[in-house]
Symmetry: C2
Subunit: 388 residues, 2 copies
């Protein structure tokens, strides 16, 4: 991807070369199974536990609160399905927000088919959950609230500490999908009143195929996969030591560099927002104007189809996105944008630009140069757009 | 592990350096999500589908019969739990063998708690399933038979073609856990009458954290994880492209080199068996004398605890195993050995030596030199062993 501009960091991130270096010996030299009783096995066990400690420190949890999984999807399954199954005697009601990732909406449907009840809290025009609305969804059967830390499309950051406190005061467990937020917002499960949290490795520039469930003490879940009993029976299957070592290194790097990185991203994000809104007529910002991820600029251009926009960018070797990766190959409009009050046709007019660790100043220049031309051309061809 | 001898290939394998080379660009350069509609996303999609083709060829399946998973454990969950759930209206009875991997025994217990019935077929002294015994377990509610291709401990290879035919003739689906066999026995799902098959990447010198379910046409399973709907809804979560590319390369290499490799392994295995049984008194071979994996030599030494043996080898920097990786940290005797008719104390007296791609002639020499001395010393200290 050397000669392309990539502003699609929310969808996929490269592995940091320093992470890859750390992983390398575990592929070919120190490859043993941590269950083995020989020296090579001991080395693998030590690496596994040292990695657990690094990931725990990254989110201010204890080592034994980290369960390594095959990625965010598995963590979320374990957290939500696992918690509802384990605690079904205490209640059968789950609350999620309208703007959760598609995987959580699909889990909600699955749980409903199993006889659970699920309520969805609406969000405001910026995609934020209001406590007053959440309050009206709580019943005496509610045992779990799952609200994302930040939105993976429009970048709006929730007031997680307040939502966590709200849940915990009522004796309701609180899970947060922190995949979009990790590495961009300082996460502290203790301060944020988080009981269960799903994180992924790739979202902090670690390898794919690895993630973690942070499960605080006193909280228990059922496994979703059955097997040899690794990870305290919650994640069976031989541990992916290179992947886990990579995730830990990624967490360590992120912890020391996040402040600088976020400062750099914010300057670019603010420049993107400022210039796009001033240069291009009938352009709007999606998501919260200030409480948004430092990496995220999400626009709507009246009369311009997001997909056409994306293909025009593709022709110029610029990789951007219209929304969530999972729904990008369907023609469905983003449920997140619909939830913030946009019409279907408005939701289709979106462009998501997301900044990452290897973004360069010239990438921002290139996009800012290309965008007005592309939007202009597409509007000329549009039968709908009238302009001002 | 450069200065140690490693004869524990059934437990964990290194990634072949050629596989790692193939994976490298997908970590840092071509890292996009296959769901993305830009050029980088197209590259990822192409790699995903090319990998699917290579894995399909390796087992003689069609491309669309390969579902990539996070590893063998997930494949097995998807195959067995997924099939039983999907087809429960047709019957609620599952048959497995006594010598299946611990994860399958745990899945059986899980299914029993959900109200399914599970029968276990016994095996003969070599660990082989007999059709006459299998026949007696079949009921009109039997919808799935799951028998391993080869045993992960004692290396006995089942007559899979015959078992598959037996199942298919009766309209019963046949799943095989081919993890121990892959790369050591030519697998052909068409010839072998296999309907569902679980394979892992690491067992053919690919990376950990990847595997596949081979699901033949007309066979359907329920997902065990819910999410964004990747892999036709059966394996949600962004695809681990470096891992999948690695598994495919591993399959490709294996396909072209397996014959030579197996020939080499067999010579070492036969030398190990011949010399150990002739040099060491009261030594026995576990598993089938000839229908066994080319990589596997599994012994029992009267009066010598496997764990003590293993620790003596550890002191000499030699990595070996007493049995399955998952149970090696418990004090339970191997359920496989018990199933072949050994007493608990006999099952504890075992040593598993497994050969792999990077085994050298000197490794075999070293072990053959160390073994008589270690066994002799341990027997001297043994209060039970009387010798002949």
């Amino acid at each position: 991807m050397s000669n392309t501009v990539y502003l699609d960091y929310h969808t996929a991130k490269p592995v940091d070369p320093r992470v890859l270096d750390e992983m390398m010996p575990w592929f070919t030299e120190r490859f043993a199974n941590p269950s083995s009783l020989h020296r090579d096995g001991d080395l693998a066990t030590e690496a596994l536990e040292a990695s657990r400690e690094k990931v725990a420190q990254f989110v201010n949890a204890d080592n034994d609160e980290i369960i390594f999984t095959s990625g965010a999807t598995e963590s979320i399954n374990l957290a939500i399905i696992g918690y509802m199954m384990k605690n079904r005697k205490r209640g059968n009601h789950l609350i999620i927000s309208e703007v959760e990732h598609i995987s959580i909406h699909n889990i909600a449907k699955y749980l409903e088919r199993l006889g659970f009840n699920v309520s969805k809290v609406p969000v405001d025009q910026y995609g934020r959950v209001k406590l007053s609305k959440l309050e009206r969804r709580v019943t005496d059967k509610t045992i779990l609230i799952s609200i994302q830390y930040a939105n993976n499309e429009i970048g709006t950051v929730q007031n997680i500490q307040e939502i966590g406190e709200f849940a915990n005061e009522r004796g309701i467990a609180f899970h947060t999908d922190a995949v979009a937020a990790e590495g961009l917002v300082p996460i502290n499960v203790e301060r944020d009143n988080i009981n269960l949290m799903s994180i992924s490795s790739n979202d902090i520039y670690g390898p794919r195929g690895v993630g973690a469930l942070v499960m605080r003490k006193r909280y228990r879940v059922n496994p979703v996969m059955i097997g040899g009993g690794q990870e305290r029976g919650l994640r069976s299957g031989s541990e992916d030591i290179p992947g886990i070592v990579g995730m830990a290194k990624a967490a360590e790097i992120m912890q020391s560099e996040m402040d600088d990185e976020v400062r750099r991203f914010k300057a670019w994000r603010d420049r993107l927002i400022r210039e796009v809104l001033s240069i291009i007529p009938d352009a709007h910002l999606n998501g919260h104007p200030t409480d948004r991820l430092a990496s995220n600029a999400h626009f709507r251009f009246e009369g311009v189809e997001g997909e056409a926009l994306l293909l025009s960018f593709k022709d110029k070797g610029i990789s951007v996105s219209t929304g969530s990766a999972c729904s990008s190959k369907t023609l469905e409009p983003s449920h997140t944008l619909i939830s913030t009050g946009l019409l279907h046709e408005e939701a289709h007019d979106s462009l998501q630009l997301t900044i990452g660790r290897f973004t360069k100043n010239e990438d921002i220049d290139t996009v800012l140069k290309a965008l007005p031309e592309i939007v202009g051309k597409l509007r000329e061809m549009s039968p709908i757009y009238k302009g001002r």
